[in-house]
Symmetry: C2
């Protein structure tokens, strides 16, 4: 009986976890991550499928806790390669379905489940338990395995006054605790945060206050999947007699899916088509948009820079950025806020104004969860190493002994035998990325080449060489891209040509006709010349053309 | 009489401001900024010197408010091009001198001034006023000009219990207010932050608590210029009988300068040479280091990744990251914390532990400053647009009317005539960067090329062409770098060669011998082929070799 966290860029067990017992294997979630600044040109980062491939015939199913990209984004890639039923709640599967359509993946075996449901397959007994999160239809998973009862929290918070649906099912979690939880795999995202995360309703109060005070147009940017927040914008609009326009590809799509599936109450009569926005007086309109993370191509950034096709913003208007920047996005968000303010708009953002609450449990909620479940083992998941450690600190403050807490890395394997857990040898867990639609391995040379090209540029030498004597024919050509400004680099081209010519005269005098050696000598001489002259070390590419 | 903010990447008036009247021109500060992720390979960003160049003969002096890089870092570049006396306090000039030595700039005219000093030159009367900041020797500048009295706050906070030196000279600021301030150019960095910034002493209390509880080695990372914080580490070491080792180039240099100039009280007997660290028992040692911003090459990152030459960290040891991540550095700082925790060290960092306080005034301090100075005009400076706006909101809450607040951009020119101010046409203020030691212009093609190379890679085609007929000789060669993984790209090389061959057969049949046109056709055909096959648009470089 093994449990293996398999995916998450910098985070552990965030995107995918495998549970493997004699009767078969399950995976919990199949999400993706967005690349960081060290992966130029990469579209997205997937979990490493190597371990799944090695045991592909044993895969019995995929359990999804909720519909966020970091939990379902790898599904199309997974289903292209593996065949297994996918279990999730209605909204989760609705979002997955739209994604599968986009990727042209057909015949997926999607099986809708509800919180509270319990069933068996592949030697596992599975139960879904309602939790609160920043998307509807989020569930925790209780898994009865050959080793004992496991609970995966998924992403959760405790919201006793949720916007939609029920509060987290504390009663059921308590009952599981009474039954006896062998291991709890818990969300650690907010484990550095003391106290409780406020209810989503707090944001509704702020929205109401904003809607009361603003005379012009109101624009609200939010995560497209945050249906509860979108619902609160709709409620505020209703109360203040504003119509709702929706912009941004993912926002339009998610609003449509959520309305169809009954998660969002937004009557047709309240909606304005984007093309008709100019006909609606500013004070009668609210625009729901993407771009809360400052993404340069998203609708809000284009509104901020004045390049949006249909939506403008100006004095008297207000913009609510109803999200918190994900680490790495701070500069982009700030740039967007600056540009909106330059247009004269009032901008409301967190933490200056409570327009956002987190979807992840803080320390007191983590304590509540641990106290209800009373797990024998805690495996902190979903977070960077520091967050897992703080989750562990919290657990220790409740009396869970250190040896019953496993802080793992992706690829680490936890073995359960009887009631005892121990770490055994790791499984492969490299970084797999999607680069231009295709799978790639970032450990390869390509990423290193891109980084060198980005920082130092490149320098190409074309030399025509007499294939018999190895002597240079004519003058070599040099071409640079992304290197120093050719205007500024006074005489650099001529001097470089001279350096290469000198190298080739030397090699010819030594009768060198091994083109590999010749290229190495060009590269060496030119690298030291350019480093001295420009302080830069471009990628040097000597091309020998035999004539 | 003109005032022009000239430098600051994303921030306004941060790095340099020119004050220009009939009698001559002064600049206040000459700092630099660090490049952001959109400037790959760039070393640093300088203010635009164009305006200074246009009026070079009128430059009478450079006034420095304090020794931080973003206020003095451009001095070597400035003094290579312009000749003017540089005024600053002792520590500021000490830091500038060491920088000038490093750059080999000789014969600079550095003139030491003290807070409280007042003197005239170039038609200006200048007075330096003591303020508190995260470096000793920080001053505000009062400038009596032909238009009236200007006050530049520099970077400041109000610390009534400073670690060293005097509290901010509120009395003198009040007296200037009584005299009548025409315009106040004030630090806006923390204008979104309510309340007061706590005294630096708070950090000393936390350090004491950490030193009391830790049994192993203690490592403290801080800004190298934060002499007050370094002093507090020394005090805690003294109290708990630990010796002090210093590591990281800038930390070693700044500690040395501060000791020589009497700003840092660190007796020889307490110091350990880095090479002797292994001989000191862990419980008797504290290491002061750079790397609080997670810079990959700094000492702390190397300690965290286990690649530091002399310093290790392990269980029982503790690391204090006594700084807050500057926007853009969050991921690097987080990576360092994760790695330190992986080694088993306890890590103390802000905001979980009060190991850092800001050096910039929050809203209540800004109100105090505005109330004392009672300026006719406020020009919020030092901050992104959003911060300037919030400074303006604070001023308006004190009753300063909107028309007397000028929120400017870099290059905007404010004209004073009589007691009236108005905006007149802008001066040039592009972005100037240092790239491999030389000045470059990021608006040029080089930056765009680097970005394309970084994200899409490059694809080179070498074709030998009969110079008479324009026909292809042999097969073209293709070489890619930073493009897709050649292993993964099944048959892509062969197919690309075929695409190029086809293009060249077509051009030969049309008797095209214009190499420019030929290259364009290769580029066009190959771009669409590669985009379809790989979803990427590499830089394509066709090279034609005539044979």
């Amino acid at each position: 009986m093994h449990v293996v966290p398999l995916g998450g860029l910098g985070e552990i067990g965030k995107n995918m976890t495998a549970v493997h017992q004699r009767s078969g294997m399950l995976v919990v979630d199949a999400g993706m991550a967005f690349p960081d600044e060290e992966m130029p040109g990469i579209d997205l980062v997937l979990p490493d499928f190597t371990y799944l491939r090695e045991h592909a015939d044993r895969l019995r199913g995929i359990l999804l806790t909720h519909g966020h990209e970091d939990h379902v984004g790898a599904i199309p890639y997974l289903l292209r390669e593996f065949r297994a039923p996918v279990y999730g709640t209605r909204l989760t599967l609705g979002l997955v379905e739209s994604k599968l359509q986009e990727f042209g993946v057909k015949n997926a075996d999607l099986r809708e489940v509800s919180a509270g449901e319990k069933f068996s397959f592949g030697g596992f007994n599975v139960e879904f338990i309602n939790v609160n999160h920043s998307i509807p239809g989020a569930v925790a998973v209780a898994l009865r395995t050959s080793a004992g009862l496991f609970v995966f929290s998924g992403d959760y918070k405790v919201d006793l006054t949720p916007i939609e649906g029920e509060p987290i099912d504390l009663g059921r979690l308590a009952a599981l605790g009474e039954e006896g939880v062998l291991a709890y795999f818990g969300d650690s995202t907010n484990s550095e945060r003391p106290g409780y995360v406020p209810s989503e309703r707090v944001v509704g109060e702020t929205l109401n206050e904003v809607f009361r005070s603003v005379e012009g147009r109101i624009i609200v940017a939010s995560f497209a999947s945050h249906i509860h927040r979108i619902q609160q914008v709709v409620e505020a609009a209703k109360q203040h007699d504003r119509l709702v326009a929706v912009t941004g590809r993912s926002m339009v799509r998610n609003v449509q899916i959520a309305r169809e599936l009954g998660y969002l109450d937004l009557p047709d009569a309240m909606m304005v088509d984007q093309r008709d926005i100019r006909r609606i007086p500013d004070q009668d309109l609210v625009v729901l948009t993407t771009g809360s993370q400052g993404e340069p191509l998203a609708a809000l950034s284009r509104i901020a820079s004045g390049t949006h096709r249909t939506i403008e913003v100006g004095p008297d208007d207000a913009v609510v950025v109803a999200a918190h920047p994900i680490p790495g996005n701070e500069r982009g968000v700030s740039r967007t806020i600056n540009n909106l303010m330059r247009r004269g708009a009032q901008v409301f953002y967190s933490p200056l104004k409570p327009v956002h609450v987190s979807g992840h449990a803080a320390q007191e909620e983590q304590k509540l969860m641990l106290s209800l479940l009373k797990p024998r083992y805690l495996v902190p998941m979903h977070g960077e190493f520091r967050h897992l450690m703080h989750h562990a600190f919290t657990a220790r403050s409740l009396g869970i002994p250190e040896e019953r807490i496993f802080v793992l890395e992706n690829g680490a394997r936890l073995e359960f035998r009887g009631r005892e857990a121990r770490r055994i040898e790791n499984v492969p867990s490299g970084m797999f990325v999607v680069d231009g639609g295709g799978l790639a391995d970032t450990s390869g040379a390509v990423m290193r080449e891109r980084q060198q090209l980005a920082e130092e540029g490149m320098f190409i030498v074309v030399a025509r060489i007499d294939s018999q004597s190895g002597a240079l024919v004519g003058e070599p050509d040099v071409i640079s891209r992304g290197f120093v400004d050719p205007q500024a680099a006074n005489g650099l081209v001529e001097a470089s040509i001279e350096v290469v010519s000198r190298t080739l005269r030397r090699t010819a005098s030594r009768n060198i006709t091994d083109w590999g050696q010749l290229k190495n000598e060009i590269r060496r001489d030119l690298t030291s010349f350019l480093a001295e002259r420009t302080n830069k070390r471009p990628m040097i590419l000597p091309l020998i053309v035999e004539v």
